[in-house]
Amino acid sequence: MKGREIAKLVEEHPDQTKVEQLTAAGPKPVGLDEEVPIVSCDEFKVIRCNINAGFQAERLERELSELRVRGANVSVVGTPVAAVIYHDVPVRAGLPAGSTDVLVKVPAGYPGGIIDNAFLPEGSPLLSCTPGGEQQVESFGGRAWKQKSIHPYTGNGIPWNKDRHGFHTYYTELVNWLNAGK
């Protein structure tokens, strides 16, 4: 088989791959046009050469670090799309929970995309007493979350500014939102 044919077995675009034959002496590169005799149980590694990141991890990490320095507890989930979970966000006294986890999706093309909306854990008593309409349920990190319609940086909110706003400033918006609950 040619290297390209081997790559085609696992990748849609074999021209964008690098193929290696795994041998006892270590990995041996196989050219895409190189013919390799196949013996039973031969092993190959096909690596995609054109991996794209959906957002800049460094920027997100910088923003979350700013929050952590200020004592906030935040984490990131990578699937099905990247999202930030703000843990134990304080809630106004008098509401049915003292604090809550809030999940916010990393928008496509971030920071070109605008951070918008927020998810509360499905079944949270805060869903019915915080501003914003209840929307779809999605699963992140093995938990079900329900989206609430809040829009700090669109519509009548503060216009999104990629140099000023981010997940670090969104925390304040979430605290304000949770404090506006009735």
Binding site: N50, N52, A53, G54, R62, P107, A108, G112, W160
Partner: protein
């Protein structure tokens, strides 16, 4: 030393002037040097490096009494501390005495071997870059260099300086491909030679020009550059040709619209270029400019022309110019019609070069519009439905959706005029024969005196383009590739 991969170094002309003043202040007989910080991006072809700033020696850190560069340990220690505290790379540049070329001496080899060895325990795996500068007999700059990255030495192939002209200096020690069409081009470029002199005319030969968008404005620009005997093209477009494109896409013919599948626009452009200049080297990428593979190729370019009508395409040009110091020209049209009459024939041409404001500084990027372009289609449908429901409830729907990008009725005479003008400005910038009269120009072909408006805008200090200037991948982009955008495919 790697035989296949190399380093392209970029600097602003103004920054380089300051560096040369320091480097050559003891010339012609004595050397001097300085550490510097650089941004970088690792690509399949090598390292794209951009000069951020200098870390000049403090008194006593380099020995003034020595005719060569003699380090005090304090200077090395300070550079290592700096390397530990930044994601940027730290390099060293020094001058050689006049007449001694730029080939590393045995002590240069010793210094580089030592600094490369030191680069392992300090920092976060950044490359180490060493440069040697000199002047030739005519006083012109000569530069060589090498970078140590991941246990491999890479030669410096080119230095690109971006200012009122675009300079490309090739290292005399680099053995890679040289411009090859000079002898063929001189006949073709007889008019250019008459206009600007043969020396200027043949500068197009070794240049690489990138085109993001190969349709209405891109195709006439590509044709103009091909006829000017530019040798290397990077063509980027994610679309296939359609019948309605025949009205404005140069190089297309009727039978292209009858093929099944329809050809990609980059294929049509490659065919047109080859018919004009069979020696041209063409990279064809079907994909979005935000794609990492596309970015890698654009970083090889002397100049990039942005010929798309998207906000994220425009943002990309700003990032190329600010983060990676790749100069760019953006061209766009805005035709409008009403009641059977053409009411606007607007053309806009913008330069993104040394010190120029980015599209965000200029207020040319609507955050909501950009967000709409980048959104996943399912998310977009959800937002549109939520906006409709809000309006039905008597509420403001703009919090959910403010409208998507408009489809502009771009027509051939307007796109050809705009593309050809942008190409003319680009060529003159590249050849050093003329500059753009303004950083940003708007004019309307249907208005008296073309309704001309010229603007000069500097970078806003609070904008990311100023904060992350020349930081390469160590800075922050204004827009990134959404995960749902199809990844780029390189055509053979």
């Amino acid at each position: 030393m790697s035989a296949t991969r190399a380093v392209r170094l970029r600097a602003s002309r103004s920054g380089w002037v300051a560096l040369e003043k320091l480097l050559f202040h003891r010339h012609p007989r004595r050397e001097w040097g300085t550490y510097f910080r650089f941004g970088y991006r690792r690509t399949p072809w090598g390292l794209a490096v951009s000069l951020v700033d200098l870390l000049p020696a403090r008194p006593g850190e380099l020995a003034r009494s020595s005719p060569i560069v003699s380090f005090a340990p304090e200077y090395i220690s300070r550079a290592l501390d700096e390397r530990d505290g930044t994601r940027l790379g730290i390099g060293f540049i020094h001058s050689h005495p006049s007449g001694w070329g730029v080939t590393p001496s045995p002590s240069d080899d010793d210094m580089d071997e030592y600094f490369a060895r030191l680069s392992r325990p300090y920092g976060a795996g950044q490359p180490y870059l060493s440069l040697i500068a000199n002047r030739d007999a005519a006083g012109g700059l000569v530069l060589s260099g090498r970078a140590f990255d991941g246990d491999e030495w890479l030669p410096v192939s080119h230095l690109h300086l971006s200012g009122t002209t675009l300079e490309r200096h090739r290292s005399p020690l680099w053995l890679g491909e040289a411009a090859s069409v000079k002898h063929r081009a001189t006949g073709v470029l007889a008019r250019w030679a008459a206009l600007a002199g043969e020396g200027a005319a043949i500068r197009s030969g070794g240049a690489t020009v990138g085109f993001v968008g190969c349709s209405g404005t891109g195709s006439p620009a590509i044709e103009t550059f091909a006829r000017a005997q530019v040798e290397n093209f990077v063509l980027v477009d994610d679309q296939r040709f359609a019948l309605s494109n025949l009205e404005r896409v140069h190089g297309s013919v009727r039978r292209d619209a009858e093929e099944d599948p329809l050809p990609y626009k980059v294929e049509l452009m490659a065919r047109m270029i080859r018919e004009i200049n069979p020696a041209a080297r063409i990279t064809k990428l079907v994909g979005n400019g935000l794609d990492d593979e596309v970015l890698d190729e654009l970083l090889r370019c002397d100049l990039v022309l942005g010929c798309t009508d998207t906000l994220h395409g425009r943002a990309l040009l700003g990032d190329l110019a600010s983060l990676y110091l790749v100069p760019a020209i953006d061209v766009g049209v805005r035709p409008q019609g009403k009641n059977g009459q053409v009411t606007s024939q607007l053309i806009e041409i913008t330069r993104y070069g040394d010190g120029d404001a980015c599209p965000f500084c200029q207020g040319r990027i609507s955050a909501a519009g950009l967000n709409a372009e980048l959104m996943h289609p399912e998310e977009r449908e959800r937002c549109i439905a939520a906006a409709a429901a809000a309006i039905k409830r008597g509420e403001d729907g703009t919090a959910y959706w403010q409208g998507g990008p408009p489809q502009l009725p771009a027509v051939g005479y307007l796109t050809t005029t705009a593309g050809a003008m942008a190409a003319g400005y680009g060529l003159n910038w590249l050849l050093g024969t003329a500059g753009l009269p303004h950083q940003r120009m708007q004019f309307d072909l249907g208005k008296p005196e073309f309704g001309f408006v010229g603007l000069e805008e500097g970078r806003l200090p609070e904008c990311g383009c100023a904060r992350w200037l020349a930081h390469g991948d160590q800075g922050e982009r204004s827009v990134t590739m959404p995960a749902h955008f199809p990844r780029a495919v390189r055509l053979p």
